[in-house]
Subunit: 252 residues, 2 copies
Amino acid sequence: MSDSNVISLEVVKHTCHHCCLSGLCLPVDLTAEEGARFNRIVRHGRPLRRGDHIFRAGESFSAIFFIKSGWVKNYVTNDEGSEQVLGFHIAGEFLGLEALEQKAHRFSAQTLETAVVCEVPFKPLEDLAADIPALQHQIYLLMSREIRHEFEMLALFGKRSAEERLAAFLLDLSQRLRVRGLASQNFHLSMSRHDIASYLGLAVETVSRLFSRFQEESLLAVDRRHIQWLDIQRLENMLADTAPEAARRQGL
Amino acid sequence: MSDSNVISLEVVKHTCHHCCLSGLCLPVDLTAEEGARFNRIVRHGRPLRRGDHIFRAGESFSAIFFIKSGWVKNYVTNDEGSEQVLGFHIAGEFLGLEALEQKAHRFSAQTLETAVVCEVPFKPLEDLAADIPALQHQIYLLMSREIRHEFEMLALFGKRSAEERLAAFLLDLSQRLRVRGLASQNFHLSMSRHDIASYLGLAVETVSRLFSRFQEESLLAVDRRHIQWLDIQRLENMLADTAPEAARRQGL
DNA sequence: CGTACTATTGAGCGCTCTCAAAACCAGTGG
DNA sequence: CCACTGGTTTTGAGAGCGCTCAATAGTACG
């Protein structure tokens, strides 16, 4: 149904060491033998259904997870039962890196639609990386990317108006889809308005009103969860005065 | 003058491989020979004066930096010249990890007071880590901690009121000071109200009003930049309904 | 077709921003 | 010692953005 699904199904056909490493969008030089060793430690996952959990806050950590297809949201739940969404991950990204230090997950990860996820046990991965410098380097890059992305999100949410936050959120998603080779001008949002609002620190009603206004202003066409860019330039201009955004567009 | 300075001066006396690694607040098992190899790649820094830059956004990346004493702020500047503060680092923390993937710093790092910083060139560090599994593991932990902290900050800023943000900010600082063995009930804020406001996404006036109100309510005693906790329990209660905060208090 | 859920739209209020001014502090020079 | 200057912090008054409450509309599913 969504573009992202159609395309990501192709990714599934790849061998897992290829897709897990190429998911980093960086060149990886492993010999066939090294690739085989990597493959032996990866646990290939069955498809998860919408709403399944990959892990929950508090569970002990033993592996990181690579998303081969589908969308995943990270969130925490407070005492009153309401949830705070911390982020979204799409095909080609890793999950669970925050848990390494304390050996326990800090938030829950739940699929937003049917998803395929590989599990990469960390201890074997670490041992293998000690043998294969290219793999070790790749893990550093992976973690660095995560740190950078979170800093950029912090920058976005520091000061901005509701309008700017939503525009930034959509452009960030589009950017990440494009980098992965998925449709980025015309895509399906797997998350609810509630999830988006929680992530952006806004009320659901505000998000809904903004989607309506963006459509009125012919910035984009919204059909429930389907988004189509109409005037990406004007959306980018909303954020043009911020260094990290501008730098990221060049950098990636 | 500030408690943190007095105590951190002791840290400076340590040999650098000891303080850089113990700065992680985790046990590191290096042999004397391994420690010596580590020491050879570290460039010990001269004291930096208030306002000096450790690096600037856009500069090419070649090393990470360990703060031996003092406070540092990270920020980006937009086209109009106003700055967005992304975070603060204190003695015992590392800087620059976000730059690894793209080989360029994404934000600027500036000292808020006199500071001593070690430079650890990354390529030699990586090569050394490939030889010393304990060091490699330590770097993973270090990066994991950074990812976790940014996620927690994202959670804090997602939804909260100005009051909750400031309380969370102060408690986070206190927590980090305590973990490093510095005075955490009675400390000096090196950053201006402007910096705090920028970081929290609030107006300077709002931050100032909140400090006044916290003092009126006998939550804490504020004397310009000096902070003293009076009723830490009530401040924590402001945030008690949030899982990640509660979990962190246990975890750290 | 009914139920439950999600999304949209409207009205009114409150928190936080903006604008403005005063107070306070540190440093400089008379 | 005091006046002067530039910076930071505090305090006040008014306005606006985004939240809350409430109702309607659209969608999925049995």
